[in-house]
């Protein structure tokens, strides 16, 4: 089509200018995508949750524990299908910088509640049988080069001493949202250690994980559980796993809001840069647009040319930026290791990148298109020479 040919030729008339504009777009769209992916990674813990799991914790705060004997009473609550428990361990592997979460859990019931952790049957069996055993997610194993059978020493920060675990299994996540950056080991090991030291928390757990039959009944079941322990020494607070995880994210909400704002500011900046470029380009071609109008082309034709050209440049840069985001995100994920258990560029992010490119192209062309479609032919023709 003639119009398409004309606007494509126009777009690449000043090679260097178009190239530089595209580079700007690539950088902006890429940065936008990476920042959005970082935000997503922050919320990944909440995104990867199951709607059939509740978390019951001490009503005062997470730092307060719950008695082990609550387990039976929770299990008897109507709608509950399974109960497990976990304690935050907070150990250090070699150096503080190697951060990853470790939980002391009741293994059989815990793994039953987390079907998204795909663990070979043999490894699962070996783990259940070995009180010193541990299992980790694939990402964590890759990060430190662990293989099944390896000894993993952790220096306790909450629970003193060096704790050495034998790696009995490595799980793969059922999909990209599954956390593969944790370590699980036997709660009994922790409990017995505490008892041996005469600690009073030996028969206490950090949180209960509660499986339920019907996600829609989550509020009702939560109420029933909490009602069980009303007016007891340790009152409970039960919420969905998602709400529980979001509770952690909300602590860093302010940073996330800032990162979010910056991601959009970048787009606004490139929009301004590109609008300026388009205006400059359009001005240089004033006489050409005037000639087209003299020949009888309607203002809409000029509008079409400018929008088309702007969109070609914006989409060109935008799509290259999107393509570049994927390897960059992968490299970033590798560099930060297990800091972000899940770091993937989501479809939503890519859609937003595309939308941002189109918006930049359209808005950059809007003002020049409006101006050029309204130029006075006689005045415009004077700009030759």
């Amino acid at each position: 089509m003639f119009v398409l040919k004309l606007l494509l030729k126009n777009a690449f008339r000043h090679r260097l200018r178009t190239l530089l504009t595209m580079v700007g777009l690539i950088v902006a769209v890429c940065a936008f995508g990476l920042l959005r992916t970082i935000i997503d990674a922050w919320y990944a813990g909440a995104e990867g949750t199951s709607s059939t799991r509740l978390v019951t914790r001490n009503a005062i705060s997470l730092t307060f524990v719950l008695p082990l004997n609550y387990a039976d009473r929770v299990r008897r609550v109507e709608g509950v299908t399974g109960v497990s428990w976990s304690n935050w361990f907070g150990g250090v592997y070699i150096t503080e910088r190697n951060f990853f979460p470790q939980f002391a859990v009741e293994p059989a019931s815990y793994l039953a509640l987390y079907p998204e952790y795909i663990l070979p049957e043999a490894e699962k069996k070996a783990f259940l049988l070995d009180r010193q055993g541990a299992v980790v997610g694939r990402k964590l194993a890759n990060q430190y080069g662990w293989k099944v059978g390896d000894q993993i020493p952790l220096r306790g920060t909450i629970f003193p001493g060096t704790w050495t675990f034998t790696l009995r299994g490595i799980w793969d996540g059922v999909d990209a949202r599954t956390d593969e950056a944790q370590m699980l080991f036997h709660w009994k090991l922790l409990s017995e250690n505490l008892r041996a030291r005469g600690g009073q928390n030996a028969d206490h757990v950090g949180v209960y994980i509660v499986g339920i039959d019907e996600p829609n009944n989550a509020p009702l079941i939560s109420q029933r559980i909490d009602a069980q322990f009303k007016n007891s020494l340790a009152e409970t607070l039960t919420e969905t796993e998602k709400a529980f995880q979001l509770g952690f994210v909300s602590m860093s909400e302010a940073i996330l809001v800032a990162v979010n704002a910056v991601s959009y500011v970048i787009i606004v900046i490139i929009m301004a840069v590109m609008a300026n470029t388009m205006m400059m380009t359009a001005r240089e071609r004033l006489a050409e647009y005037a000639t087209l109008k003299a020949l009888g082309f309607p203002p809409a034709f000029v509008v079409k040319l400018l929008f088309g050209e702007s969109l070609v440049i914006a989409l060109g840069g935008g799509i290259l930026g999107m393509l570049l985001t994927l390897p960059l995100a992968a490299a970033f994920a590798k560099a930060v290791g297990t800091l972000f258990p899940v770091f993937v560029v989501s479809d939503t992010t890519m859609l937003l990148q595309l939308a941002a490119s189109v918006t930049v192209g359209a808005i950059a062309a809007a003002w020049p298109a409006w101006k050029m479609s309204r130029i006075d032919i006689v005045n415009g023709l004077r700009h030759v020479g």
Binding site: K9, N10, E288, T291, K293, G296, F297, P298, V384, G385
Partner: protein, 240 residues
């Protein structure tokens, strides 16, 4: 003062009556054309002459429908183009006017062929018909060997020939040319004038040409002199 054509009403293509044009710049009122009357016959070749700033281009632009008068009427082929809306005027230009500019005004990103094809996009012609028309127009200006060249690969004279092909490809009623030889040397300018002559004699086109060059004006059938926005009578042939 009026200089009107001597042909019968049926032969008159352009009938300008009491035409005035003035520019307003802030407080300033700049009259350019005042109460001008002019008739141009169908198939006539008219040269518009006069000192710089006398309003030649302004008059030509009004006749070509790319400018609007402050008063009066411009009836071309029975249509008073002064009363047309902008959109209707654009359609009218596409159908009836061919433009030749001093600086050619070709699209630099389009080849000679594509430049000539451009005005045909506003017609209902098929792709094949367009190609045939373009080929014929380029043949008329004797540029068939340069069809794939871009304007910056052509000499000034060649560019103006492309522009002439573009002006005639739609087979317009009227061709307007504002100093078509103004940027060319005598020989090349002469070739361009030869082509305009061909358009007039062979194709029977009505041509209104603005020029400073008396020699160029001599190629026309009739000279019209403009001075300070009014037409002055043509000095009698031979009179000094």
């Amino acid at each position: 003062m009026s200089v009107t054509g001597d042909g019968g009403a049926g032969q008159t293509l352009i009938r300008i009556r009491n035409l005035s044009k003035a520019y307003v710049r802030g407080e300033q009122f700049i009259p350019v054309l005042q109460g001008l009357d002019l008739d141009v016959r169908r198939a006539e070749f008219v040269a518009l002459m006069g000192p710089s700033g006398s309003g030649k281009s302004t008059l030509l632009n009004l006749v070509a429908g790319i400018d609007k008068p402050s008063g009066g009427s411009i009836i071309v082929g029975g249509v008073d183009i002064a009363t047309l809306s902008e959109g209707a005027l654009a359609d009218w230009r596409a159908a009836h006017v061919g433009f030749i500019f001093q600086f050619y005004n070709l699209m630099p990103v389009l080849t000679a062929f594509e430049n000539v094809e451009l005005p045909l996009l506003l017609t209902t012609l098929s792709r094949r018909e367009r190609k045939a028309h373009v080929a014929a127009a380029l043949d008329m200006v004797r540029l068939t060997d340069r069809v794939d060249h871009y304007p910056n690969e052509l000499s000034g004279g060649q560019q103006q020939r492309v522009a002439i092909a573009r002006a005639l490809v739609t087979d317009p009623t009227l061709i307007v040319a504002d100093e078509p030889t103004g940027d060319l040397d005598r020989v090349t300018g002469g070739e361009v004038l030869d082509l305009l002559d061909d358009l007039h004699r062979q194709l029977g086109k009505t041509i209104v040409m603005v020029t400073h060059d008396p020699k160029a004006a001599g190629r026309a059938e009739r000279m019209v002199h403009l001075e300070k926005g009014v037409l002055v009578p043509d000095p009698a042939p031979g009179a000094v």
